[in-house]
Symmetry: C2
Subunit: 348 residues, 2 copies
């Protein structure tokens, strides 16, 4: 198979080429974020993005890949959507730098988090710089012939950044409450997680120059995938290992952080268990033993079953929207479908 | 005098109208930053911007006024530059929210700072939201007929946001050092303060649709005004009162924060004094007595004279650039000149 003079043996080769292009552009931007005097800014951004050493974890880059694949799904080359992929990756990463500060998470992608290495104050600067870099990336990378896409692109991106901030405000407010409803929680992750997945899929469509009806479908695909992704992340956060998450075991449970399994166990478990769990969640910080008690109580409730069902429903909806996006599914549609399948298989 | 059907008795009336327009747009954006669920985001932004109560201090809005007046100086109505004024005001304010967290400043514009009221974590969300709002504001407020100005506008704004981050990285790094040179310091305030003044003046030119040569002059005017402004702020930071600064007396001296007066006293004072001052600056935190000692040592050096001379030189350069901006100085050029004069008179 030949694309623009290059031979691709397989879908994997194409995905590798896409991610190499992404690395290149993120590397360039990281290089330019700090001036010669303020090299620390570049160092922090490179460290966080995993660009300091070959083989450093760079995260799954799901959002960036959704943007690129969405563009290809609509029949355009991913090169037209590099700006979109880089931008959503930066949005995701500025929020991670701030999240780690806010949650006191010392590990990110198996490395020390930015605040852990350079302190909270410099980490705030790194987060703010990554956020400023979002607009910079679009300006620098959008092909000049597509200048008419600047406005819709930055409108979607700034809206998704605001959604992230709103979601994070709620997430922190929920820490102080024990009466959070499942609906409130779903609205929160809609803002904190799904909005950026939605934005990524839509931006791929903007890069491909498709109309509003197609953007709408792409957006819904992204949104449902995002909700499912977060619910599965919640499941792993309670029952997963550090190898899976790159974070300490049960880190979601500490600080009274609300996740879907916890909320379901608070609502649907045995009365005695609910009382114990509620009282545990008002602690400022869990001991290891308390963490195990909380895990056991959540495990005894119907939380896991309900969470898996929720995730499965959103994945089914994502798949439906995906196949509505284009009349003729191409390799990219199949790659996006594989994302859905991979998440589904983690539910079995 | 009649402008678009409204009668302006004086320059003050025009400035008042400008600032009322600014209030209106900032108020709208603050309203929209938080969704109904995340009303806290709106509350924090409104509090910080002084929009919660009539009469709440909203800051001097120097940068926003520079953008508006620069547009008028080039012969266009300020209404064409509202987007620019709102954007630079938001850039300034996101950095203030983060600065207050980083410096543990409990007071801002005579009110409790955002982190003091809502905690560091929520303050980070407020700062991130204000930063995201910069791009949003330009997209929402730029007149559709000026869509070709979107790219240069956002290019300047994102660059000035990155400059702010770089400057803040340096400012914090300088806290850990006693060997900061005056040149390094001037580069730092160039990034942390003057870059946004420069951006504001340039954006006014972009809003007026003038060419690069004019933008260059406007930029230099802004830059020199910004450096002078910061140096004067440093002078007030050492010798001023809380009434003048809205911050606790000597707050710049604590935490080993480097300012121009301190650096000059460290270099040019009597040997014994320099030793004492250097050792004071390595403390984690000053007592009231130590603060007085530091102030006295800086007062005995030639710092105040040198600072005043530096500020005066930059103000003279700003005035020169200002009168090169247009052939025929109008009311806005005179208003900008008055900014220079006001700063000059604070030096006498």
């Amino acid at each position: 198979m030949i694309v623009k003079g290059r031979t691709f043996a397989s879908r994997t080769d194409r995905l590798d080429a896409m991610n190499a292009a992404l690395d290149r552009e993120l590397g360039r931007l990281a290089q330019r974020v700090g001036s010669s005097q303020s090299a620390l800014l570049t160092e922090m951004v490179q460290h966080h993005l995993g660009l300091r050493k070959a083989g450093g974890s760079r995260g799954k880059r799901l959002r960036a890949n959704i943007a690129l694949l969405s563009c290809e799904a609509f029949g355009r080359r991913y090169a037209d959507a590099i700006w979109a992929a880089v931008a959503v990756e930066l949005v995701h990463n500025f929020s991670l730098v701030f999240d780690d500060v806010q949650d006191h998470d010392e590990l990110r992608r198996g490395r020390a988090s930015v605040w852990k290495l350079w302190g909270v104050n410099q980490a705030i600067n790194a987060g703010a710089a990554l956020e400023a870099l979002v607009t910079r990336a679009v300006i620098d990378l959008l092909p000049p012939r597509h200048v008419d896409r600047l406005r819709p692109a930055l409108s979607l991106l700034s809206e998704s950044m605001l959604a992230l901030c709103r979601g994070q405000v709620l997430d922190l407010q929920f820490e102080q409450r024990v009466d959070v409803s499942v609906d409130e929680y779903l609205e929160m992750i809609g803002l904190k997680t799904a909005a950026l997945f939605e934005c990524a899929a839509r931006l791929g469509g903007v890069a491909a120059g498709v109309g509003e009806a197609s953007l709408e479908k792409a957006g819904k695909f992204g949104y449902h995938l995002g909700i499912a992704f977060q619910v599965i992340d919640d499941i792993v956060g309670v029952w997963g290992s550090t190898t899976q998450t790159g974070k300490p075991v049960g880190s979601d449970l500490k600080n009274g952080k609300k996740t879907l399994p916890t909320l379901i166990a608070l609502k649907g478990g045995a009365a005695g268990n609910r009382r114990v769990l509620r009282s545990l969640l008002t602690r400022a910080r869990f001991t290891a033993a308390e963490m195990e008690t909380a895990r056991a109580i959540i495990g005894q409730s119907n939380a896991e079953v309900v969470c898996r069902r929720q995730a499965a429903e959103h994945l089914a909806e994502a798949r439906l929207q995906l196949f509505g996006m284009t009349e003729r599914p191409n390799w990219a549609v199949r790659a996006l479908a594989e994302m859905v399948t991979t998440l589904e298989s983690s539910l079995v």
